[in-house]
Assembly symmetry: C2
Amino acid sequence: MSGPARLRDVAELAGVSPGLVSRLLNGDESLTVREETRDAVMRAVAELGYVANSAASSLRRSRTDTIGLALDHVTNPLFRELVRGAQQAATKRGSALLLLDVEDLTNDPHPFTALINARRIDGLLLQGGYSDDAVPASYSSQLPTVIVNSPGDGTAAGVSLQDSLAAEIATAHVLDLGHRNVAFIAGADGPATEARYLGFRTAFVERNLVESPDLYEAGGWDARDGFEATVRLLERGQRPTAYVVANAVSAMGTLRALAAAGIDVPGDASVVAVHDPWFAEMMTPPLTTVSLPLYELGRASVNVLLDQISGEAPQDLIIADPPPQLITRGSTGTVDMSVMSS
Amino acid sequence: MSGPARLRDVAELAGVSPGLVSRLLNGDESLTVREETRDAVMRAVAELGYVANSAASSLRRSRTDTIGLALDHVTNPLFRELVRGAQQAATKRGSALLLLDVEDLTNDPHPFTALINARRIDGLLLQGGYSDDAVPASYSSQLPTVIVNSPGDGTAAGVSLQDSLAAEIATAHVLDLGHRNVAFIAGADGPATEARYLGFRTAFVERNLVESPDLYEAGGWDARDGFEATVRLLERGQRPTAYVVANAVSAMGTLRALAAAGIDVPGDASVVAVHDPWFAEMMTPPLTTVSLPLYELGRASVNVLLDQISGEAPQDLIIADPPPQLITRGSTGTVDMSVMSS
DNA sequence: TTCTTCAACAAAATCGATATACCTCTGGCA
DNA sequence: TGCCAGAGGTATATCGATTTTGTTGAAGAA
């Protein structure tokens, strides 16, 4: 009666054997019990507040019901919803999320490997897009792995968003406002950036327009990257009237760079970005964005991973519901404004 | 040879008993071994890449080497550094961080309690300031608990920052720029807000000035809270020339509200906030802030918690190194600017 | 009536690491 | 010679849950 109740305590209280209680609680199909017995056990469980000791259970089942979550910056604003989704899906399916330090991911030897060898996690959720491709592969051979926000790479399953479509919608928005001089500020190299650039070009093609390669600028995913990319573009003498930014966080940098250069938004130039984080509406000016279902991405990634852990074959997935949606705010305006003021 | 190596495998390879290997790896003081034997064991460990199965180890030692981390929004930008600090401290001391869903924290029955009863975590890191006081108490009676970013409440240890001093520095900054009409946009009710308001008043007192109670506006910690608080203040007819905002995230809302009201920053009003997140320099205008050592807070909180888990008495702590530091950016200017333009 | 066949459980063998309680030499000393 | 104290280990009993293999009694079949 000192620590928490053990299986044995429950069994004794209910007057049955521990094995019976275990089978009952785990829903063993091959078990037949009288209602009476079942009730007695359930009452004992409730009375003692019994919860199986996870260490013992893990040891026996060689399963930890824990999955590792490695995000480059857990606190990337975009990941708020993703983490929430992952968390809830995991909780719902009885698993916990272990936070992994991505800085460790690229160290050698991976302090990470210790976690895997210690059998502390059943599977791994890795953020795609940032890390180089070698990393996922080295893990996916050791345990079920799902790459979040990136298509699968053959070795590990991938769950991704409609990146291309989102960028296309963003681009279409400014094109339809009359802009023709449209810059693309890319994210870090990788599938997500490629997909978004594809969407960018598609919007042009569908309108029988031609984009200018001079207005492409390589960037990264954070605000400073967006800032620097935009500065480089301006220093190259380009003066686009609209910017499609691969990511709302780096769009913050774009806005800053434009403001610093004395370019008014949306007076002199429009800015639209992919993803709709909490701060978009709080920026000056409020940022026009195309939202993507990050919560669903988190949920789905966990589900795919847990399915894989339960033995299903790795399965790639693209989250299309809810679809990307344009959220018009103050950072975009018609080209006439730009032209007139310039 | 199928799964990962077990203690027994190592022992066999080294030609010793499993117990010896365990005692050696765990640094049993009462053990004496020949160099030769020690080497053989170490070589076997290295060769097999042996890492103790954590479930088995946990079961035996009744310790999971895992601590729960509950932050209101893990992805709150302010927590980026905090999480990094916590992560690194935990890793260094051999513990892992389990992400907890704070929404669950206030549910009843706590899905959380299951985690505790399942003995999945050795201790709990709770975010202070948000959650009401009853919550920490209900947990701290069940397992070691540390409240992060809040002074201890008697039942649980607390690790906090120099909130008062930070607010004082922020306030002193605008007072010294000549502002006298200074508003205080508070955070959510709680110790952190109280401390910061205290610092605000202290800056006035030390300069033999008197603050105006009319310029206090209750708020919250997120951007929308800051926005709404500022709007309320303006609707009350107040036109302060400077704003001290309890938190950099809500300061974003303040900036937005001012811009929306056509009040130029820093032309018509200055804004300074506590905490220096990544986006401060990317705002328009760049936000003047007072930084606080969040990384250290994370590190220290984990250390205090782990000490407590090892049996030390709960101990409150205030992180004072590095000290709060004023980071002057574009959102603050002398009062002359404001006066002249109005 | 005797053998099957279930229903309804119980017993016992794991899972892998750790900690405590033994052993077994060898050398030194009275 | 006999005894004792370490040095240098080994053997074994847990930790608590799960799972496989048994066991028992009673109802139906032959």
